[in-house]
Symmetry: C2
Subunit: 300 residues, 2 copies
């Protein structure tokens, strides 16, 4: 059995000095909450811009100094962040809604970003994120990844659970990794499920939870009859904008994998995020699901 890498080994890549302040742009899900909790635990006082109808208001996010921003007023982000003396910005969490274009108030900031944003939207997600990041940097903010200010959120290499993969699971890990890398190269998705050594489902824009729900539904598919175990592998896209949208797993992923009858989960170490690390590993061991960090950079 592999010894788990201790997560404390990793160094904080960004040293926040007095006068620095992290502004979290908080979308949906656990990631912004995890980031805020860890920054608070390290003695920092993050500012949070909650995206309306996305960020969880019943969380630590609203205990921090914060403002709520409608997606339509997103151009206000710059003056808001300035007012709160933010120096570093973390974009964290999902944004499932799309702005209601008719409700957008024109502003100078918006007009400046818009042409680039529109052409990026036409290219796909990663392009848009890059434009947002560059746009904010033009205003003098340093845009950093969640993992740069709270590095222990990154998946470590090696086995994280007491439950270990069987030898036969390795074949599934290899097959799913190969497929996840292939669809990542095409900027399609980050996840693949392999059962019995064969990739049976690929993630598009539906997301990992839906992918796992589909696998659960397919368990009685003829081609899966009699096949047990199987794995989910998630990895980043080659050249992915690492300050946003890294592959992420958390307790929900464990429950989804369990419901899908899978034996375990492989994530790319060092460039995948793990939400609620402690509770996630506890849940995984409770259910007998393994979680392993696969060597990073296999596609660079």
């Amino acid at each position: 059995m592999t010894t788990p890498t201790t997560r404390a080994d990793q160094k904080l890549p960004i040293q926040l000095t007095p006068g620095d302040r992290v502004g979290i742009v908080a979308g949906s899900g656990k990631l912004p909450i995890n980031v805020a909790e860890r920054l608070l635990a390290a003695g920092h006082t993050p500012f949070v811009a909650l995206i309306e109808d996305e960020a969880d208001r019943d969380s630590v996010l609203t205990s921090c100094e914060h403002e709520v921003l409608a997606l339509e007023n997103f151009a206000d982000l710059v003056p808001v962040m300035r007012r709160h003396k933010v120096t570093h910005i973390v974009l964290a969490g999902g944004v499932d809604r799309r702005p209601n274009w008719r409700a957008i108030r024109p502003s100078f900031t918006l007009l400046r970003i818009l042409p680039k944003a529109i052409s990026a939207l036409a290219r796909g997600d990663d392009g848009l994120l890059r434009v947002l990041v560059r746009g904010l940097e033009d205003y003098g903010f340093r845009v950093v990844g969640a993992h740069e200010v709270v590095p222990d959120i990154l998946a470590p290499e090696g086995l994280m659970t007491r439950t270990a993969p069987l030898k036969s699971d390795r074949r599934d890990l290899d097959a799913a990794l190969e497929a996840a890398l292939a669809i990542g190269r095409l900027d399609i998705g980050q996840g693949a499920v392999s059962i019995g050594g064969r990739v049976i489902a690929l993630e598009g824009i539906e997301g990992t939870d839906c992918l796992l729900a589909r696998v659960a539904d397919m368990r009685d598919h003829g081609r899966l009859a009699g096949k047990r175990r199987g794995v989910l592998v998630k990895c980043s896209k080659p050249g992915q904008e690492k300050r946003t949208d890294l592959p992420t797993i958390g307790p929900k992923t464990i429950d989804g994998a369990y419901a899908a009858g899978l034996a375990g989960i492989g994530v790319e170490a060092g460039s995948s995020l793990v939400l609620d690390f402690g509770p996630m590993i506890e849940r995984a061991d409770e259910l007998g699901i393994f979680v392993i960090g696969l060597p990073a950079g296999t596609h660079e």
Copy 2:
């Protein structure tokens, strides 16, 4: 607008001479029915082995000379085909069930095929099909593809419908084709859906109907908001055993694409099968869906 290729241009690659008889091993779906109909129309008298619980008994299949075979007695296929003087075998249609291994009667034929079949099962579908084909050929049958005895079942190159793709659909056709080829190379699936120039869903073992149903469900996904049209592309896997399991479209695919809000379908010309060609094209034009045969061999 492209002129449709006339399907009659294509030559019958296999000339059946007196004394030759085609045996159709009929699984589920329309393909075995299409093959039987076209052989009958050409004046042949095919023999049909209906796979129990898979082949459609309320069809032309039972008007031909036929026998019903349980999946568990599949080794009887050889004596049955011999008894009916079959020279050429076409494997057509789906087999979703898996045999109940305990119900299988051991036989000499079975014992001869079994070791190869088991190792092929471990490698994935295409491998298993190859073994079955080779196994039957060892017994002196010529195993041929549906398209070799009824070639007008192959998708022609060019536009098949009155409805034509818009210029913007070309970007979707290119993106989905690239993705379908990539997952085909990994022997995963044959289909991809692209909307707004971006691939949003990939086919695993769930099949095209489920893929399209998923896209219909995802239409209100944030990332698709405001995006219309989009295409499905299906193509064969490079090096695919072309005598079995070619990508197939039919009237059901048109209905699925329409329900998913797609503008059209692209299939690889010359190595995709079209079921119920006339009714399919009629249905597509009724619904305003285009169907286009993409140049074959882009991945060879």
